[in-house]
């Protein structure tokens, strides 16, 4: 009996020791990115596995991510070593992020690195990876491409014409749009449609040009698969042939290229009267003030910025490196397909780069909701465009004033809160 007790004691002692060791060494990487299970697993096995002290990579949904981050910060102690997230996610916790100015980020382009300052004079986060949105077409859709249209210089009118021809030719709409609960529809309005027509995301929200843009989108919607309100990741509908032509985040179309490399083409987003609006998405890594071991967290950030880690991240998540790397020959088909399209889009003569919302803090969700509400009322509920824009402009103005967020590109810089004309 006694020997059994000793044995038990020894076992629990051992367990305690191991528990303590692993708790001390592993860095908890609390991230909103790579949420799909396969991507999370790839992040663990192929990206962070090489970091010696060990990494516990967790990818919760944005809501729980923020709740825990805020809880740890307000409690003054925590287990999270690194907060990973989109620019907007990190903005919501910027007050609790420590200065990372001592990390060498000379390899990151200066304008990209500047995002990480979050409108302070400290380096609040370090850019981690970046992405954008593209158009994708099944090669079967190319037969319906309007005469004279250039895939690399498409206009919204041509896109509508193309979708119409396809809907009529095939008997059912083949254009798909990620308007599902987790779809990135709001990014399309903020970063593509509205800037292309009005040259603005916020200031010209209720302008005549914005009115025209929504009218165009309503036209396009006639030739859009009505199941679009259930579409979240367009790669699913591309792969099962439900949709032949669509728009989405490059990480959400990659499966289409990787599973059927010869069947799809990627190309730049369309342009409107004010240019070819497109949005760049930046994800970053920050270290909360409450991190158990800040030096180790910083070491992990440095590890994440190594070219080979950045390439592994690209393979895992389809987000592009933030440092210059030489892409190996065997990159996934999705990277081969999106690379030239991104190049064509960003270097287009009428390119109109749009930034992710900045300075909205925890009002980010409500900011996005303004655009989603506008879409749901105008396009789904069929309400009149003008009164809907007037009413949503009020909501938008209230949010901008509450956040006191100055304008960001493409809106002209403002003193104080970005105005809604």
């Amino acid at each position: 009996m006694t020997s059994f007790k000793t044995f038990l004691g020894a076992v629990s002692g051992l367990a305690l020791t191991f528990g303590a060791v692993s708790a001390q060494a592993e860095v908890l990487f609390w991230s909103t990115q790579a949420q799909p299970v396969e991507e999370t697993q790839k992040m663990r096995d192929e990206v962070v596995a090489g970091f010696e002290p060990g990494v516990d990579y967790q990818a919760p949904e944005t809501g729980p991510w923020l709740t825990r981050a805020q809880a740890e910060l307000s409690a003054g102690s925590g287990a999270v070593g690194i907060l990973g997230g989109l620019h907007g996610d990190l903005t919501a916790v910027r007050g609790g992020l420590s200065d990372l100015g001592d990390i060498d980020i000379s390899a990151i382009p200066a304008d990209l690195a500047a995002f990480g300052k979050l409108e302070t004079d400290q380096q609040k986060y370090i850019p981690w990876m970046q992405a954008t949105f593209l158009m994708v077409a099944n090669k079967k859709a190319l037969d319906y491409l309007p005469e004279g249209a250039d895939l690399n210089a498409l206009s919204y009118d041509q896109l509508i014409e193309w979708s119409r021809a396809m809907a009529e030719g095939e008997g059912s709409p083949k254009f798909g749009f990620p308007a599902g609960p987790k779809g990135l529809k709001h990014r399309f309005f903020q970063g593509f449609l509205l800037p292309s027509y009005s040259g603005s995301t916020v200031t010209e929200f209720r302008s005549a040009e914005a009115e025209e843009a929504w009218g165009k989108f309503r036209d396009l919607w006639q030739y859009t698969n009505p199941a679009s309100t259930n579409y979240n990741f367009m790669q699913e509908q591309l792969v099962n042939d439900e949709v032949w032509l669509t728009f989405d985040h490059i990480a959400r179309i990659s499966e289409a290229f990787n599973s059927r490399p010869d069947d799809f083409v990627a190309f730049p987003v369309p342009s409107g009267p004010k240019g070819r609006g497109f949005m760049t998405v930046v994800a970053g890594m920050g270290v909360p003030e409450t991190a158990p071991d800040k030096d180790e967290a910083k070491a992990l950030i440095e590890y994440m910025l190594k070219p080979e880690t950045q390439i592994a991240t690209l393979r895992a998540t389809n987000f592009y490196p933030v440092v210059a790397v030489d892409l190996p020959e065997d990159v996934p088909a999705s990277v081969k397909a999106s690379g030239p399209a991104i190049e064509a889009m960003t270097s287009a003569e009428d390119a109109l780069p749009v930034l992710l919302p900045m300075g909205m803090g925890d009002l980010n969700g409500q900011f996005n909701q303004v655009y989603v509400d506008t879409f749901e009322q105008i396009v789904l509920a069929g309400r009149d465009i003008r009164p809907t824009l007037e009413q949503q402009a009020e909501a938008l103005r209230a949010l901008m004033n509450q956040a006191e967020a100055p304008c960001w590109l493409p809106d002209a810089p403002s003193q104080g809160a970005c105005p809604v004309n």
Partner: protein, 280 residues
């Protein structure tokens, strides 16, 4: 038996309720009537002035109004059938109760796999040659089908909980009343309507209160089948809390659900009032 023993036995449950129910509840209640650290009704104003509030409120009420009566009639019928069975009574009871063991989200997903565009219903209809192409049922263009699917899933999932309570209640009614009525020549229907139903009041009360409150909290089934196309009070609460990150407005929504639940509980208590003398 020491005098304090009953209190001691109640203690764990009381502590549990205080920590995990009363404390968070008080916090939510306070949160709903404060904004920027001051007492105010701004959260309620923000919640009710959003264009989806009316729709969410309407949908929740409509769902409750459709689901609960159907379930009441079905559970009464099922309970009576079970009660009358000589053989295999518990087997049938278990089979009826199977959906109870399935989480509401899983139930929603089961019905989604039926109604989806690539779901079982479409593949069956296509297989039978009744339709040529899969039909899109759960579309924003046909909110009535979404509503119908949700009602169906809710009825399938949660009728059994009412049935179980009513079966227990039926077992408590002494046979003599029914037999006496029979002697006086009452028909089956009269016996059910004039004897069983009134005697069932306490059980009906419990079953209805439970079911109506659950109906106001409907969430996972709606999300699974309707996505964001069928807002209900609970899904809007979730939306404000997690997507729009405004806890005050989410708390205000929670208070609205509470108010509606309390109101309907009082109505049911009053309507199915059991006089003190009649309580056994």
């Amino acid at each position: 038996m020491p005098r304090y023993l009953p209190y001691l036995l109640l203690l764990p449950a009381t502590v549990f309720l205080i920590i995990f129910f009363l404390y968070p509840f008080t916090q939510v209640a306070i949160e709903s009537v404060t904004s920027n650290g001051e007492w105010s009704l701004a959260n309620f104003q923000k919640a009710t002035s959003h264009w989806k509030f009316g729709e969410a409120f309407k949908n929740t009420m409509l769902l409750a109004a459709l689901v609960v009566p159907i379930q009441l009639v079905m559970s009464l019928t099922m309970a009576t059938v079970v009660q009358k069975l000589q053989k295999g009574r518990s087997a049938i009871l278990y089979i009826f109760a199977i959906p109870l063991g399935i989480s509401d989200l899983a139930a929603g997903l089961i019905w989604l796999s039926i109604f989806e565009q690539s779901g079982f219903l479409n593949s069956m209809l296509v297989g039978l040659g009744l339709i040529e192409q899969p039909i899109l049922y759960l579309s924003y263009q046909s909110p009535w089908i979404i509503l119908f699917a949700i009602v169906l899933a809710e009825v399938w999932r949660a009728t059994a909980i009412m049935m179980v309570i009513i079966v227990a209640g039926l077992g408590l009614i002494p046979r003599e009343y029914g037999e006496a009525a029979e002697v006086f020549g009452a028909t089956r229907w009269q016996r059910f309507y004039k004897v069983t139903l009134p005697m069932l009041r306490p059980s009906l009360q419990t079953a209805l209160i439970l079911r109506v409150i659950l109906a106001f909290e409907v969430f996972a089934v709606v999300i699974a089948l309707g996505g964001t196309q069928m807002p209900v009070l609970m899904s809007e609460t979730f939306n404000w809390q997690f997507n729009l990150q405004d806890r005050g407005v989410a708390a205000a929504y929670a208070m609205v659900i509470l108010a509606v639940s309390v109101l309907f509980t009082l109505i049911i208590l009053r309507a199915l009032h059991v006089p003190k003398e009649a309580r056994t």
